[in-house]
Symmetry: C2
Subunit: 195 residues, 2 copies
Amino acid sequence: MPKIVDHDARRRLIIRSVWSLIGRRGLAAVTMRELAAEAGFANGGLAPYFRDKDEILLAAFQYACEATEARLEPAVAERGGLAALRGLCHELMPLDDTRLLEARVVVAFWDRALCDPRMSSAHEVTTDRWRTLMHCCLAQARAYGEITTSTSDEDIVETLFAVAAGFQVHAVLTPTTTTAERQLQVLEALLTSYA
Amino acid sequence: MPKIVDHDARRRLIIRSVWSLIGRRGLAAVTMRELAAEAGFANGGLAPYFRDKDEILLAAFQYACEATEARLEPAVAERGGLAALRGLCHELMPLDDTRLLEARVVVAFWDRALCDPRMSSAHEVTTDRWRTLMHCCLAQARAYGEITTSTSDEDIVETLFAVAAGFQVHAVLTPTTTTAERQLQVLEALLTSYA
């Protein structure tokens, strides 16, 4: 089925090229016409691939999640326990240009997910998976004696997950305060407090 | 100057009535026409007050900040130290319907602030003020001996501030996981770890 394969490749090509436009200008400020131009299509040329901006944003969010998960897996599989938990947090935190750009797309996505059940369910499925991964690492870290705090696993996951989301906002909006160094220090202080 | 006073009152009336529309549907999904209808104006009737959606969103954000600060002040002034720090965090966290609605407006604002210098500077001014308030409470709490951790004040403020922002996202997107009870438990575990 060569046509379908081509279609999928085309969609991914579009996502990659509109990605930086959303990151630069924010989804709200961007029109379908500009998205087409950025991807090298004529006006209206995106229609066979994406019906509207929401479909593009959903695909961009899923692309960001896949990229994050591709980075998460070795961090979790190769290490284990506390080291895996730390690695997992690092991949969710906007510590470099790639993850800062992901953060911009994710923040745009949150706003739309608030009002679109399809987007909020995509968000929930992904975050559920990441929470479950965190719980696995945490259980391992407890088994290894690396984490012994009386704070519940649910509270620890909720804390680390909230901190990562907060960093995604603050690192792009107040980058001189929420530096990569500061983010790493905050994470280490938290992990130490769970020892 | 009765005309100016009237103008201001009118603007506040519009903000209050579009507030719930943004909260219900998200800014991206809402048109100027719908915003006018929600506020009881004819189509185009908002023009003398707000030129475009961005101006309305900026005003809505500032309205949310003023409401938050009106709640913050007594919490900080009446108590002091750790109790004030806790009260301040509670006002930033989406613990009830009012603060959940504020969170929805704030999340919509973040996306636009990523690409609009006027919005990002309004965001920075406000968050700077809240960070400063947190530092004051924290210094008092240290003076009272309520907080003795070796974690730096900068790291503590960054943690609490990130957690509050993360909760604003998660309490509206995954409300069954990020309940008010869970948020309060996470905050107490953090404050206890700083004792």
